[in-house]
Symmetry: C2
Subunit: 201 residues, 2 copies
């Protein structure tokens, strides 16, 4: 089996959510696993001098339309734009990172639960209480999840991951590395599919 697809995402990214629903089937078709890597887009935006899509003139209106249309196109009509957008996602990212070091399968379930909470059920997962509650529903200890959010070691680990992502050139979400080759966006999944099938082109 080849190396896992490294799937970088921010929980506040609509295209990240849509891609999160597609990446496992894509990887599995080629006998690959997915390595789920939460990051913080705000840090990347400071590097690129950009802003969240919805805050950019012209692009903002188009993006809102395209989020919903792309969701329908990809068979994910349950997508809905959250009431509050964008949000800081440190709390969820830290809980996932903490859990990943203990139980990767559970951490993967957490990733999906957070995306679903935010983009389907309109839960504001930036609030530590909500981030803990989502984890608790997946069977994680609420007290431990709460502690993970404020754990200096976890904070530092997330910061290191984000800095590492940016050092590798990650500037958006989703962002996937396939055997070192970078692909930005759900709309590169067709290229990833061929890359995996052919070994590169």
């Amino acid at each position: 089996m080849g190396a896992p697809l490294e799937f970088y995402f921010d929980f506040s990214s609509p295209y990240g959510y849509l891609a999160s629903q597609k990446i496992e089937a894509l990887a599995a078709r080629h006998g690959r696993d997915v390595d789920w890597r939460p990051m913080l887009l705000g840090v990347a935006f400071r590097q690129t001098g950009t802003a969240p899509l919805t805050e950019i003139p012209l692009k903002g209106d188009y993006s809102r339309r395209d989020f919903a249309r792309s969701a329908r196109f990809h068979g994910l009509p349950e997508f809905r734009m959250p009431s509050r957008f964008p949000i800081p996602t440190q709390a969820a990212a830290r809980i996932v990172l903490w859990q990943k070091a203990r139980d990767v399968a559970l951490a993967t379930r957490l990733v999906k639960a957070y995306f679903r909470a935010y983009f389907v059920d309109d839960v504001d997962i930036s609030a530590p209480d909500q981030a803990v509650a989502v984890a608790a529903k997946e069977g994680v200890s609420a007290a431990e999840a709460r502690a993970a959010i404020d754990d200096p070691g976890i904070k530092e680990a997330l910061k290191r991951d984000v800095d590492g992502a940016i050092a590798r050139g990650v500037f958006g979400s989703p962002f996937v590395f396939v055997d070192g080759e970078p692909f930005w966006g759900l709309d590169r999944f067709d290229q990833i599919d061929r890359w995996l099938a052919t070994g590169g082109f």
Copy 2:
């Protein structure tokens, strides 16, 4: 036959070039024509506060890689990044616009000739002499093409088109309207295909 697909592009846009090689077959599959609409991205960038992709930290390196990879993916390996990039494209846009009012078929050939000159043969079409020479090779009178570049009426018509594009929400290249529905990027051609097949989704 339905309305033509309105294909907005800037001659300095790599994805615009790639899309220009694909849009006619896509339109023809659904019995549509293409309305080629040159615009000036610089004006849109001032609205959105963005810069040419290649000048943005992180995004720049990725984009150069993605231009070439996307060209190979779409079966257009003759694509090459021009020596000078980006360039102002008023000269070519004005000649196309002038010709479009006289002979639409010839104007369409000119669009393809300019894209090919810039992205395959590395001709700097921002230079009026080069823009005129490309037109002349397609059978256009060099003297008339030269005059069109400096014609106040043509200048004004291009300005009006660009302002009109921005008023419709065009902020990138390629940008396609299908019966009023906006699609940004070659990577939305799969959605355009389904939109045309189904009447919208």
